[in-house]
Symmetry: C2
């Protein structure tokens, strides 16, 4: 895929990795290989979650670096190619993990909650610096910056367990706090790396666009001006049915160079850019915790 | 090291890899690790030839990626670190290999030779696309471009065996052609990747500077204007004592991103830039084969 500022292309190209094993098995493949879907050309495979479908055989499926995919293509142009696959990955038994939750209690309406989240786990290659240590750092920095601000509503920081393999932390949070979800006035998740803030996505009724636009007013000097509707404000927010969800958009031009590869290490985070992102997130969370509430999202039955 | 257009810094920083094992053993080390000396941050180790000194113990010595070196540094700031080294590299027995030599015979003075070289081998990681398939391609392209030009002197293309581990191909060439070396009027080696041409280095008496400058006159439109004295016109040229040596300088800004790493694959060559480099080399070789000879280099006894 090509380098671009947003995440849009990942959703589209990602299907090759998400569904490659299913589609290949459907046409009779004994195994399948996917060309890495990141933008990097560093001989590192971009890996990640893969789906299987019980209706077709569960075949071996591996990601290879773009350079190696190019090599295979060149060989295939000249004739039949035999590939021997030896995969080291295996699925271990389930193990306990936990969400980490902390709060800055609201001054006037402590029962109303603004959630700011990130996820604690990472894919197994690399160190998960971009995905999602960056987000964890940002969420904690929001709490640090707003510690003495005492807004009207409660700010709840939630560091979710197990985003990568099925959102079990997010689902457990939604289940444990089901009675409270209607008092979640907004939720955001920092899970887009350490890049500079560039905009704000909203998964709220289109009628709220003006209200959302006012939220980014104080961020104009940082060029956080790109306000757009999104269906995907954060993976861990998906189980929070009915809760108005927003997403700080961050510059992702370099993100897919390293995301889900061995190269996702701490040096890929630019301290200046992530500071801007954390600051912008704090401004948004403070305003959500103090200001006029957003309209509730349509219920899933609509 | 930092990204720069020339190779200069490699010579300086390279000492850490060339001599690290010796210097560490000298102060009592049981093993040593060198931070990769390339410019890349892709979790790939930059490897290459390492020297040992029989006067000190031959200790295990490994290169690690810059990310991992950073990690070690962070750990060391907090206290003692124990590292377990398990190295897979080993030195195999010598095996036969061969130089490949071809000629375009000169029209008037076939006994006088202009040598254009490159090397066939590469370091064991990656595919050696930049080092030195690029150079081999350029040398062959020079022969193709000049096939029908029939210059006065003979153009000899030499693809050297085993540059990486001791220049045995170059030494064998110099020995086999010892009687002929005084009739080598110039030698060049393409061993600087696939980047655009930017200048010309000369390992010839400083008095020849004006003559060298005239050589690049036709290349001004390509901005090949940086003419400078160099002690290192090409590793495989070192045994060619007394032969005037020139080096086409190429833009190496990206070269050390991939050089001697697993990422040195064909996609790192830009066809447009290497075409310019091969064309520039052909212009220089044609002029050397047709024009006024360069002064002989000082003999090593001087």
């Amino acid at each position: 895929m090509s380098r671009s500022r947003g995440f849009d292309e990942y959703g589209r190209v990602g299907e090759q990795r998400f569904r490659g094993a299913i589609e290949a098995a459907r046409v009779g493949a004994r195994g399948a290989i996917v060309r890495s879907i990141g933008t990097g050309k560093h001989r590192l495979a971009h890996t990640g979650a893969t789906q299987y479908d019980p209706k077709v055989p569960m075949i071996p499926f591996a990601a290879i670096a773009v350079e190696d995919a190019d090599y295979l293509h060149r060989k295939l142009e000249r004739g039949t190619v035999t590939v021997k696959m030896r995969l080291g990955a295996r699925t271990g038994p389930p193990a306990p993990s936990a969400n980490v939750v902390g709060e800055l209690r609201g001054r006037e309406r402590p029962e109303e909650i603004v959630l700011v989240g990130a996820h604690l786990d990472s894919w197994d290659v690399g160190d998960g610096a971009l995905d999602d240590a960056a987000g964890v750092g940002m969420a904690l920095e929001v709490a640090r910056l707003l510690r003495d601000a005492r807004p009207r509503r409660t700010i709840r920081v939630v560091l979710f367990a197990n985003e990568e393999c099925g959102l079990s932390g997010a689902k457990a949070y939604a289940a444990a706090h089901a009675a409270e979800l209607r008092r979640h006035v907004a939720a955001m998740e920092a899970d887009a790396g350490g890049g500079a803030p560039i905009g704000l996505g909203f998964n709220v009724d289109e009628a709220a666009r003006d209200r959302v636009r006012r939220l980014v007013g104080p961020l104009e000097a940082l060029r956080v001006t790109d306000v757009r509707h999104t269906e995907h404000a954060g993976a861990d927010l998906m189980p929070l049915t009915g809760v108005p969800q927003l997403a700080l958009e961050q510059d992702a031009t370099d993100y897919f160079e390293w995301h889900h590869t061995d190269g996702d290490t701490a040096d890929k985070i630019d301290p200046i850019q992530i500071s801007k992102a954390a600051g912008a997130l704090a401004v948004l969370i403070a305003e959500l915790a103090d200001g006029e509430p957003l309209p509730r999202a349509p219920s899933p039955s609509r």
